[in-house]
Symmetry: none
DNA sequence: AATGAATGAGTTTTCATTCAT
DNA sequence: TATGAATGAAAACTCATTCAT
């Protein structure tokens, strides 16, 4: 088992100098970070409390139990990312290549590398079988919309003659799966970093790979 | 009496008909499946025992403790996949596109969809921060060799004039990351299935995507 | 947010319309009702507060702690019922049967069905071993006087030739025990209600039973 | 709060010298005694364990949680007392007075003074509103049969001309209520004892009281 | 006087591990 | 070897009580 760790409290000022309205969010922030890093079961309530700068009892003032914290963490984190897809796609007139880039960029900004919620997909993936509701929710509100978005982009590109795709469904799935998996993966294995590859570079290259492939067209 | 969870034993034949030499492997099989599905902390020793068709005490005849089972599960599962890369690459004379396909096929067969160990990457990903040794081991014996393999394939293709790649390192990383992530992801979210996409289809499309991209070259 | 139990406040008017002198009594009323229904340990201070229309902190303005509330509830409820027995008995000249009826009626009005404190005997019975003082107090100020009262009534009836009793002590005990137990019981099991028996009916029949028995005297 | 107490373990021999089959019953015995004395909420799991001569963890080997112990305690204790009433009544030819005595004796032996389960009615009464199932179960399997039994006895006596009763239902209720309450009460307030009244004496007098009343029939 | 968020001491519950058989 | 009842250390959870406002 990994050795015991000292958790730096997120907030360390005297308790009463901190606004009480912040308490729930402070707890969720602490919980999210620990759940993503260690998993739900391996994260102790006392760890969350320490990181949030409160005592364990306080968690139960705001949340029914540990599981309720998990639910809240996920629900709050997953503000629908693609709900305005139609709006964007409806009036779009530019190149399909650019549209795909916008999509990837959007996704990246939402759940990608830097954002606070970038770990949520990993968390959900790990707990999917223990908490199926989370997985269902993620599927419904994130993955399926994303899949549809990609498909629409591909169809747009095909109509405009820019793209050439054998099977739209499978290709959309391959793109989604690859990118989503990569983001998820990035949280754990940082081969890139080990090889000095910067995040933005990766995103661009990913876009490039999908668009051009690696084949040399003389 | 306190109730317990239901768990289908992996082996259900009468105990005395099973060879006692199989015991350790049966335990590892049961443990792997449960660890992958539920995570290490959420998997109870009694569950492993039940699934392996033994009692909790027996686990401790073969393994020091629960963590030792995890270690053994991972170590046994990760028989190096790429150690013969040099051999294959050394004498290869064919097309780079085919070589890439061989690589993907090989990986797929090793840790992909059907194989018993296909869940190990997910397991390691989930427990990476709790058991850094596992992550290190995986990195060293799987991911880095895979990364190098891809790089070699790309360089081979570039030398032969087949491939056209801006940045070999980043591209290799993008390919690895995408494919690895997709495999990992596949364990949890089955959008593909939901859309009726078969596994082989996905693998082929993935290869195609990397090779050709989606751009229409008149 | 952690959910809480529903509890209808005893007082629901705006706080500022209620006199602050009533506060302590409102707290006791709320506590009595909950203690009787749920028991001391199972009743939460926050429940009492909600029912009394105040916040938990307020309880501690008036009472040292939860136990002090119990003490006060019981002490206030048990205004001696029989302290004027001597007075009544001293000058009584009528029939013993009627005197017994008066006694039963008196008891009934004091701790019987309708009164607010009718649950106190049950409460004391339940908490007797946790709070022996309560039991002692009840014994001393209620049961023993009642026992003596009954005995005096019986002796009065015997002297007047109205009653025929083998053993005054035991009979007095049987009467007390039966009636007290019935009242206590009535709080929980309402077989009577289930069979459409009204409270007054029960009290009269009880008196009749004691006086005449069920034997047919041609 | 009542001071801390030392619980004498029911069994004190070395654990392995005691039969493991006894464990569940030992736990129930300990729990019953404590629940009756202190109430459910005021009884600590650790107390039950100590009294049963095991550690708290052991309780959870046999029972899901504290509440399950309560359920089991009650269910096991309440073996139907009156289910053979019809048999007895069907062929009975003797005096109704005697039949009533048999009934009272039977009840007394089952849940009365000495028996191990004599505290169960009190326990159920105290926890009725916290655990309505218990109350319902008691009502259905004990009180209602008892009520019907008494009614049948009364009707038998009326038919035979032995009894003279104004209202059978109400009288039956009065008898049940009085006797049941008295038994229940006896667990807490021992006025009788304080006055040197023996248990058997009380039971007989109770029977006498019901049958003859206290009125002097010259 | 009144508040109610936060506490922390205590309780319930879990479960990896042991050990007599 | 194998067992599985029992353990005990640790975790989750409860809630009477406090105290800054």
């Amino acid at each position: 088992m990994a050795e015991e760790f000292e958790e730096t409290p997120v907030k360390s000022g005297p308790r009463w100098q901190r606004k009480k309205e912040d308490r729930p969010q402070e707890i969720l922030d602490a919980a999210l970070e620990l759940f993503v890093k260690q998993g739900f079961a391996a994260t102790k309530v006392s760890q969350i409390a320490r990181k949030a700068g409160v005592t364990p009892g306080t968690l139960y003032v705001y949340y029914k139990n540990k599981e309720a914290i998990l639910q809240e963490v996920v629900m709050k984190a997953l503000r629908p990312v693609f709900y305005d897809a139609d709006k964007i796609l409806g009036k779009y007139k530019g190149s399909a290549v650019d549209l795909l880039f916008i999509l990837i960029e959007k996704w990246w900004d939402a759940v990608g590398g830097e954002s606070k919620i970038s770990g949520v997909p990993k968390l959900i993936s790990a707990e999917a079988s223990n908490f199926p509701q989370l997985s269902d929710f993620y599927m419904k509100s994130i993955l399926t919309p994303a899949f549809n978005y990609i498909r629409l982009v591909l169809e747009y590109g095909i109509r405009s003659g820019e793209f050439m795709v054998k099977n739209v469904e499978v290709t959309a799935y391959a793109i989604l799966s690859a990118f989503h998996g990569a983001v998820l993966d990035a949280h754990t294995f940082k081969i890139g970093e080990a090889n000095g590859i910067r995040v933005g570079e990766f995103r661009d290259m990913f876009h490039d790979l999908i668009v051009h492939g690696i084949l040399n067209k003389k």
